[in-house]
Symmetry: C2
Subunit: 150 residues, 2 copies
DNA sequence: GGTAATTACATAGGCATGTTATATAGTTAG
DNA sequence: CTAACTATATAACATGCCTATGTAATTACC
């Protein structure tokens, strides 16, 4: 019913967070999310990363190249398929991700400062619920469209 | 305590939403938020818009120029100060914003599809609570830094 | 009341990150 | 062994942001 209002609020929040975290000149949102995925799920091929983050394959190729130059990821090869580039997180990459996340958490804590703890918790819980659902949803869409050739 | 986790979830959600809504090649996130601000609060000067959206003044000048070319906003002058450009929403701008928001709401409804209504409501409520707080926080920071010359 | 500092906005040039179209190398099918 | 497909790379371009700087209007001060 007022899903509409919620959707608009979400969009506006996203916009504010994107700008409000703009100390982030070191790692883009996509870079952070990609490193996070590698941390959560281990080495992945370029195509999988591109689909998971919703960018094109060439964009992901370029992002990985930049991350590789900075020593945050390495590219291995898949013994069973010579075409694939298997991207993995380096120790340095893990450290950079952890550091960046720490800064982001501090910044977000500032932005949420002043809110009652109960509301912060409610927000955190809602995020923890909604995020996996959206990930699953996007994953399903990717599969569907590659299967159906949408 | 696990504000850290929430912060990371928020960041990842933001990233997914940014990419997941990329039917948005017509209006950038900043453009949508700016039009929304004009709708909520009436005509504003460039500087105020830039501060509210967290972009530099030249960026806002350019955004307004693009929006003006597309007929979504007009620029008036302030009778009491010849330097200022007072930006207002046109009828067409209101329509475009409404249309874009409708599409976004549909898309977000899709992404949330499958979640129990209670959780969607909880998320919506949390957003409605958190968003004004963050707006206020960012507004306060802007004032503080311009007053203190940070 | 005229000059200096300030303010609001515009312009210029550059960078990061995204896109589509296309090339190349490895794999699978026949 | 060749054709078709798949995974990644390269090229050319677009968008949106930035910093540095220019210009016109306003305010402050002697």
């Amino acid at each position: 019913m007022d899903l509409d209002r919620s959707a608009n609020n979400l969009l506006d929040l996203v916009s504010l967070v994107v700008r409000g975290l703009s100390g982030n000149r070191d790692l883009s949102l996509t870079a952070i999310a990609t490193l996070g995925l590698l941390l959560r799920e281990g080495p992945q091929r370029i195509t999988v990363l591109a689909a998971a983050e919703g960018v094109s394959q060439p964009s992901m190729t370029q992002l990985v190249q930049r991350l590789e130059q900075r020593g945050l990821v390495t590219r291995g090869s898949d013994p069973s398929d010579g075409r694939v580039a298997l991207v993995s997180l380096t120790t340095e990459g893990k450290a950079a991700l952890a550091h960046r996340r720490e800064l982001n958490a501090e910044r977000i804590a500032e932005l949420l400062g002043g809110l009652p703890q109960a509301e912060v918790d409610a927000f955190g819980d809602a995020l923890a619920t909604v995020l996996p659902a959206i990930r699953a949803r996007l994953g399903a869409e990717t599969h569907a469209s590659s299967a159906a050739g949408k």
